[in-house]
């Protein structure tokens, strides 16, 4: 088991992949370590949200993902 990081929208291009498995548990510092420098830089911006286990975190720096959970990195949305 591991934590799966999902890269959405433009972050997918920046990461060069749609997802990556990393060992759990995973906190904010660990996340920044595992996503590569370019994505990590984006992640620190307020406009990028983080979801864990299907819930958007109100404070992404409090991330605490357990083995088997999915962490999604959510850039600004655009639909319609």
């Amino acid at each position: 088991m591991a934590v799966t990081i999902i890269f959405l929208g433009p972050l997918r291009d920046l990461a060069g992949t749609e997802s990556r498995e990393v060992p759990g548990p995973l906190d904010w510092a660990g996340l920044l370590d595992h996503v590569g420098e370019a994505v990590a830089e984006q992640l620190t911006e307020a406009r990028i949200n983080v979801a864990c286990g299907g819930k958007v975190l109100s404070d992404k720096t409090q991330l605490s993902a357990q083995d088997g959970e999915e962490v999604a990195l959510l850039p600004p949305v655009s639909g319609g």
Binding site: L8, G9, P10, A51, V56, L74, P76, S78, G79, G80
Partner: protein, 152 residues
């Protein structure tokens, strides 16, 4: 009576309208908005989404719309995947006893789908993909609803 869905294949908007008219026979009016890929200027459009968030966020939006407006039926269909020029991207339709509820519900849902729902959009122009972010106007449109007739 609502029909809230992500659509993988093509989107038949006439069928949607006929269906809504059928399930809401006592509606005095049906308002709709169909967003389309422009026929010229782009080679393709791609909509991506995040399964655990996208449809639940649309369902929450539909619930909000029912709290704010007096509706007899609401349809919200959003394409995902790659779309060709001219294809419909999104179809929102609302049936209501009175016309302003129907029109405002469509306006409300579209403003939220544009810049507050879990979709990411990119366009292919001259062979290159470009990610699209909401325009300033989209954010301003969304802000119109803050605090106004807020759900109780």
């Amino acid at each position: 009576m609502d029909d809230i869905r992500l659509v993988m294949g093509s989107l038949n908007t006439n069928q949607v309208m006929d269906q809504l008219a059928m399930v809401a026979p006592d509606a005095g009016g049906i308002a709709s908005f169909i967003g389309k890929v422009r026929a010229s200027g782009v080679d393709a459009l791609e909509l991506s989404y995040y399964e655990p968030l996208t449809l639940p966020s649309m369902q929450a939006l539909a619930s909000d719309a029912h709290v704010r407006f007096d509706l007899m039926g609401l349809v919200m269909l959003h394409r995902v995947g790659e779309l060709a020029p001219g294809e419909p991207i999104v179809c929102v339709a609302a049936a209501a006893r009175h016309r302003r509820d129907a029109i405002e519900a469509v306006d409300f849902c579209m403003d939220h789908l544009k810049s507050a729902a879990w979709f990411w959009k990119r366009e292919k122009r001259a062979g290159q993909w470009h990610w699209i972010e909401p325009r300033a106007a989209d954010h301003a449109d969304l802000a119109r609803w803050a605090g106004k007739n807020a759900p109780v």
